[in-house]
Amino acid sequence: MAELLQQLINGLSLGAIYALIALGYTMVYGVLRFINFAHSDVFMVGAFVGWYAVNQWRIPSGTILSGLLVLGLAMGVCALLGVTIEKLAYKPLRNRSTLTVLITAIGVSLLLQNAGQKVFGANPKAYPALFPTSQFHFAGVMVSSNQLVVLVVTILLLGGLHFVVHHTKIGTAMRAVSFNATAASLVGIHIDGVISFTFALGSALAGAGGVLYAINYPSIDPFMGTMPGLKAFVAAVLGGIGNLPGAALGGLLIGLVETFVSGTRASTFRDAIAFAILILILLLRPAGLLGKLRVEKV
């Protein structure tokens, strides 16, 4: 029982990070209808910003306040990066075929990874302790403070996102563009602005996810984004792509499943499990758990 509870905690904290990344995929898909391959590398950059903040820019670490400062910094840099990528690479391709944009996104992803290897170095880097670390034991379950940080920060960010999307003007615009871009532009919504804002929001969440991922895992490297990124994408499809609560739910589910599989004998195949889920969901319920099937109109 204690072990089950332990796995549940571990799974939730991993799933929370997947949820943060998945939201970025699903939001961009909502407004632009394409898979932003570079998203997983924005996540990687977020983790590195945290590393540089402590090791190069001498931001003190180890207190909750400084930890939050680093987190905010990573989110800001990633938001900026996301908007830049959108402006330079995706905006010239508006109204071109999805395939063209998809290939560009893969190019951006490759560029970030390999330029990252040049700038950051290929060797894995040990991650500093951003937040004060301690461990809590109760009822045979061990919870590290970092896991608590992940859960609390994720809940706060999700709450903030919900507020932005449902209770602000730009959030309403986002939902309008996602629902019908042409109609939205007809009623005077500035589409490009909304798209930029969506990228900023999604990338900031990915940046936060990068830092949170890194504090729970010992080291980071320029190619660290690929696997979490793919799993987060699977999470977005599982929840129903384009659907925000779906992405959060999908992230948590993928995290839980992966943690429980890691605990069994099949642990070497834990990276494969996400894709098995993807293929299953595409076969059984392609719209995802919470999504609605869109009928394509001509």
């Binding site: 690479a89 990874q113 040049k118 595409l282």
Partner: protein, 312 residues
């Protein structure tokens, strides 16, 4: 009298055989590059059928290549020493049979991966095939029977100029013939407008799956050729970067263009060795080429006519 295309195929097969027979005193470095070029043409042409003509997007060509490579290498290394094969029998019977089995298994894998993802519209195939490539790598690294992470060594060097160029000619011919058949019309219709194609009564899923399976089949055969050219196999050799290399050949040559893609495959493979000196910059260069090409010249570099006036 045979149609012109079949005469061309026969002629290139004979040419490959003749050149191969006299390849004994050729420079080994040149031979290596030449055979690499042949394999690249097979890979690029077969991927062109999926990513170009049919308008889908597979990112797992290296994964299917790995299936074919490991299958055929396992066949020749386990069955080769048994049954008292003569050298000729090894190279002209067992080897092509192993290539064929590798290709078929690869096509089967293509069916398993493609069937669920191709039923849907959109970019799911890209993610699923990308995931497939990663899974194949993980599985190969964990199965000790095929060498695990150390790789499979001592694969006999059966690949020669005839097999590589013969397969390349055959692949190009099959893709060309397919595209000039009713199937080809179907593939093009799917690529142009899936909704319209469906409205015309086309079973779009079926066409997509056929194109994907045929493409995977040839990727598997190319894998077998690669295995018996290099002599050793390592799971990491079939990673995402390898898939991207093939994708770049297709995009650079022009998606859905026969000759352009072949030219791109030849050029990119020939300059690969010099480019290796660039080290990490090579992938950065590839990435920039991809982005700039999509923005400036999405139809591909080697597309005739080279310069056209903008018509929009």
């Amino acid at each position: 009298m045979l149609p012109r295309s079949q005469i061309l195929l026969l002629a290139s097969l004979i040419l490959a055989g003749v050149v191969s027979a006299f390849s004994g005193n050729m420079d080994t470095y040149f031979l290596d590059v030449a055979m690499g070029v042949g394999i690249s043409v097979v890979l690029a042409s077969s991927l062109n059928l999926i990513n170009g003509f049919t308008g889908q997007f597979s990112l797992g060509h290296a994964g299917f290549m790995a299936v074919g490579a490991y299958t055929s290498a396992m066949i020749t290394t386990t069955l080769g020493p048994k049954f008292g094969w003569s050298q000729l029998g090894l190279q002209w019977v067992l080897f092509p049979a192993s290539l064929l089995v590798g290709g078929l298994l690869s096509a089967l894998a293509g069916l398993a991966v493609g069937a669920p993802s191709l039923r849907l519209k959109g970019d799911y195939l890209a993610i699923v095939t990308l995931g497939f490539g990663e899974i194949i790598k993980v599985v190969l690294q964990n199965v000790e029977a095929v060498g695990g992470a150390r790789g499979l060594v001592a694969v006999p060097g059966h690949t020669n100029l005839f097999w590589t160029f013969g397969t390349a000619a055959l692949t190009v011919y099959v893709v060309w013939a397919l595209m000039n058949s009713t199937y080809g019309r179907g593939f093009l219709a799917v690529a142009d407008d899936e909704v319209a194609a469906e409205a015309m009564g086309l079973n779009t899923t079926r066409y997509k799956i056929i194109a994907f399976a045929v493409g995977s089949f040839f990727a598997g055969i190319a894998g077998g050729l690669y295995a018996h050219l290099k002599g050793y196999l390592n799971p990491t050799g079939f990673d995402f970067n390898k898939s991207i290399e093939i994708v770049i050949m297709v995009i650079l040559g022009g998606m859905g263009k026969h000759v352009g893609v072949i030219v791109a495959a030849v050029v990119l493979t020939a300059v690969q060795e010099p480019l290796r000196q660039l080290g990490d910059w090579r992938m950065i260069l590839y990435a920039l080429i991809l982005i700039l090409l999509m923005i400036l010249r999405p139809q591909g570099l080697f597309v005739w006519p080279l310069w056209t006036k903008k018509t929009t």
